[in-house]
Amino acid sequence: MDLARSTALVAVIAEVMQWAGGLGAIYFTVALVTTLAQAHVGAIAGRTGVLVELYERAIPIIVCLAVVASAAALGDAVGRWMTSGVQDATGAVALWRGLAEIVVQAVLMTVGASLAVGFASGVLGAQLSLLGGQPGILSALAARLMLVVLTGVLTLLAVRLAGLVIGLV
């Protein structure tokens, strides 16, 4: 009986995941099309910095799609933590800590990818600016790359920094 119930539950979850995945793909397509169209309209209107806005808006859309695509594994991990059984306050703290560590690991383990993308896109932007004859490109590139590296390193060290601040308190 329990096995039949769990099999039915797994089937329902699989169906819901399939719907959610389909809806996520539709939302991603619509969001990407509207974002690109808005950037195009902005460029037609003569607005500067359209590519920056486009880049800034496209990143969360892609991250959301990645989360939807890996929702099964994430949901499984969260479900295991939730069903581990919380008896007292210590258990509740451990539960929150486990959930928080899932988020922290997901962020920190993708920082390498974002750092590399930030570096490569910054350099390509500088190349395009150089082609356009914009002055002061090398200093702007140096500032941008330094910011990319600095924010990436600070993100990687965020847990340690938080530990230091908590230790001071």
Partner: protein
Amino acid sequence: MNKRQKRGNAWRRLAILLTLILLLVSPAMPAQASNPQQDDPPSGSASVQPLVELVTNVARLFIQFFVFSSVAVFAVSVARGFWSAQIANLVGSPMGVSQAWLNIIAAVFIFILAVMSTTFVGIVFDAVRNYVDTSIPIPQF
């Protein structure tokens, strides 16, 4: 073999050399190779692994696009630099040729940065990875 054929061969050799450089540099992708938790995976890291792999694949796609685009932009920048030097020489501009040289040198420098970008990020990541911690401490107040 006439002059045009020789020039065409020189450009082809340059293109092959650039492709070889890209192929040599591309395996050093830091996004996945320099994973901070690769040696000592924390508990529950398996649950975020699909997300990390997905983001890494998307990032790899973007980086390939950026680096290969930078090859094309580099070629256009160098051609544009020489062309502007020719024009400056033609009209007798005293600063034109030196300005064109500066443009070409900047284009070469930025292109080298673009090709080596994944390697630079790998160096930064390797320097920091020993200090990365994902376990959240619970203080006793």
